[in-house]
Amino acid sequence: MALLQKIVTWARLKSPWILHFNSGACNACDIEIVASLTPQYDVERFGVQLKGTPRHADVLVCSGPVTRQIKDRLIRIYEQMPQPKFVVAVGTCACSGGVFKGCYNVTAGIDTVIPVSAYIPGCPASPTAIIDGVVKLLASLEATEEKAPEPVAAEE
């Protein structure tokens, strides 16, 4: 069983499929995320593939401070992803609210809504930083032997 678990962990680390979700970013972070998927950076080296549907994705890459408008959608997309799943917050806004912190219409960071596994700061975060963040996330998962965060229930 232990061997089987090892193989599964290995496979998970080698094949993170991502889903890109804009949770109210100013769009600069999204442009950088898209840039990091171009042949220039070639994330397929790490097995990363961009998927269009939450059902196929393992990693939810979010950018932006979660506006009130998008909060329910974010939770819904997160819940549509099959276990095990991870969330990466890209950009200062996604980490803490950034320049929008304290605004009446945002909820200051992804982790106020869903559990986040990795934070990538920067305004905007550069493609190299994003790739570095994802690779570090995978390394930390290997260390903690796959503890997937419990899914949160949608409130309100």
Binding site: I7, V8, W10, A11, R12, K14, S15, P39, D42, E44, R45, G47, K51, G52, T53, R55, H56, D58, Q80, P82, Q83, P84
Partner: protein, 323 residues
Amino acid sequence: MHWSSILWALFQILIFPGLLFLVALALAAEFVDRKLYARLQNRLGPPWFQPLADLIKLLAKQEVVPDLADKFMFVVTPMFALTAAVTASFYIPIWSHQALCSFPGDVIVVLYLLTIPTITFFLGGWYSRSVYSMIGAARSIMQLFAYEIPLFLAILAPALLAGTWSLSGMSLFYAHRPLLSLLNLLGLAIALVALLGKLERVPFDAPEAETEIVAGSFTEYSGRLLALFRLAIDVEMVVGASLLAAVFLPFGMDFGPVAGFGLYLAKILAVISMLSLMRTLFARLRLDQMINFCWQIAAPLAFVQLMADLVAKGTIARGVMIP
């Protein structure tokens, strides 16, 4: 039947050259395809174990069955897709002229077995009851009607010339008359294009166009079921390539199993490389463009191929042309 013969049959079906061998070959084919695609785009591309890692990861993932979906059909269609694709391989001669099972008429059976995965994409997408998967399902069945005619014509024309409806018989016929298989080059080109449509790859990937309709029929599929579908497509790619190799490139099957097997790998590698090359060169066609192309260009060309084979058959029968 003796125990040993039953065990031998089981070994052939499950391990070699059956399921396990085909799965390994399919994963290798996916790797070759992705690596070539990446290299042609000036990228490094995925490591060699990438398809295997994807498969294991998907197998170990939770599978979600949507509330609205028809549970039974949703779960059963991926299995049918894989089964049909694997079964088709049993009738295709690989390294000798004799396929694992063969009977007169098996070329028709193989063609229909290769149609089943497309039907399951349709059914799976339709019973997912999601908007995107329903659009994808409708598109894949629409494409089916477009590429199926040229494909059937292109594969049945050589069969007509060979005067047999069995793939093993066809490869025997052409192996002894290599010049005659030059006549079928047009058919090979058409079959390659039709195979692209069958595998729903660029430029015929409108059914799963991820930039418009998320992932087409597979939008709601996750975990093990998605893994089965992906595996079915890979196996279909290998089986399709083997079919083209057996029908259009039937040389070198007389040199014994080892050389024959090496040549077989080389042949399907060539076919798969052609498919990747086309994937790199072209952009997605709209559905109407695809159907127009298939009906107005590919199907008439396939008819030309058919006529050429008929004429050749007539002249051979009268002794005008001795191959």
